[in-house]
Symmetry: C2
DNA sequence: CCTACCGATCGGTAGG
DNA sequence: CCTACCGATCGGTAGG
């Protein structure tokens, strides 16, 4: 792997974990195994390194977009597929979420533009598909599609970052399986989106956990 | 207002906006109108200043807890009251959310402890109340109470931070009124929590927006 | 609460 | 890609 790539990866990791201001280019250089001036040969300033890290992140996001779109436009399991794709993107590397969240807080104005352009089209497309689902009666008609999608993305990011800190409060999750927090989040997203099946004819049961039989 | 308080407020604001590492004690001192050594007379180190800022934040939180608990244990509008209290706490000063989120990312281990002890009891209490609601049939029985509450708190914080950046994508919100994102979030929280009213006997209508009459 | 000052580290450059 | 070095700023101290 060439130095440039190694630098970008180390920088992304460190920026995500300690914030841009909390990381010296010296520290990044050390992790890569070169000196500070050598790093500055590849990226002329710390600021430009930051920008390139973000470019890489968004381009990685763009790579995944086709998967997301296929999930939206393909037949039945749209919802599950879309949520899987969304959560796994951040789950397989939580630093992605951390990086975006930090950037949103550190430089909201700059991020407004990049997020609008990178997320806007996706949101519109998913929202249009959702409106079809509303007309067919599959989805609740009180859903606000654009707002729903954006909230879903935001929650996916937030939950990945909060998990290690807040997860233990609901008890340790069985290794492997999704945590209680994740399962509940999925249930919330599901049940607030789909119309209740006509009573007595529940084709599928609610996604999260199976229905306990209760006194009623 | 005494210097100590002024320092704490300036530090909270700056830490929230630029992160702990991104703020020099010199910068804080300037905003207060004193010199750096003067600030260090009140707080012996930057690190101790940070700790005190967090102590203040959590104690402010503790001040609000009685309101929250009253909201939970008082009769009918429990849900709306609790959500109002939760969102207004972060809405009236978004820096609170920013500060907590930064701290979660910067020092997850330390925050695990403080959050468990400050939030744990509240979560248990609300969860117990919710279980009663489940037994009475008011709340869906597939809700995971602890996980639901924690997710609600997380979402309240995340939405406050994300709003200025992600809000414009769904269009400008009418000034004053809650944004589309906020309304949709409330609707999601509501409709994923309450059982559907027996068809044809809807005492109240769904919180968010009114039901449009649709072809079905 | 201030002036004066400390060593260490910051981002970055010169020159090879 | 490195050695050597720059001025500026960092957190913090001495002394009053």
């Amino acid at each position: 792997m060439d130095s440039r790539t190694k630098i970008l990866e180390a920088a992304a990791r460190l920026f995500a974990r300690q914030g841009f201001a909390g990381v010296s280019i010296q520290a990044i250089a050390e992790q890569v195994g070169i000196t500070k001036p050598s790093l500055l040969y590849h990226f002329p300033s710390k600021e430009q390194l930051r920008e390139q890290v973000l470019v890489e992140l968004f381009s990685h996001w763009a790579t995944r977009l086709p998967n997301l779109l296929r999930a939206v436009t393909t037949g039945e399991g749209q919802f599950e597929a879309l949520m899987d794709e969304l959560t796994s993107f951040f789950h397989e590397d939580p630093d992605r979420a951390r990086l975006v969240i930090r950037e949103i807080m550190d430089r909201p104005d700059e991020m407004r533009a990049s997020i609008a352009s990178s997320l806007g089209p996706l949101v519109s497309l998913v929202a249009d598909t959702m409106r079809k689902g509303q007309r067919s009666g599959l989805l609740r008609d009180d859903v606000d599609p654009e707002a729903y999608v954006l909230n879903a993305i935001g929650v996916a990011m937030a939950s990945v970052v909060a998990a290690p800190v807040v997860g233990p409060i609901v008890g340790p999750d069985g290794k492997g399986a999704p945590s209680r927090l994740d399962r509940e989040l999925r249930r919330i997203a599901h049940s607030s989106l789909f119309s209740e099946p006509a009573r007595g004819a529940p084709k599928r049961r609610p996604a999260g956990r199976q229905r306990a039989s209760v006194e009623r």
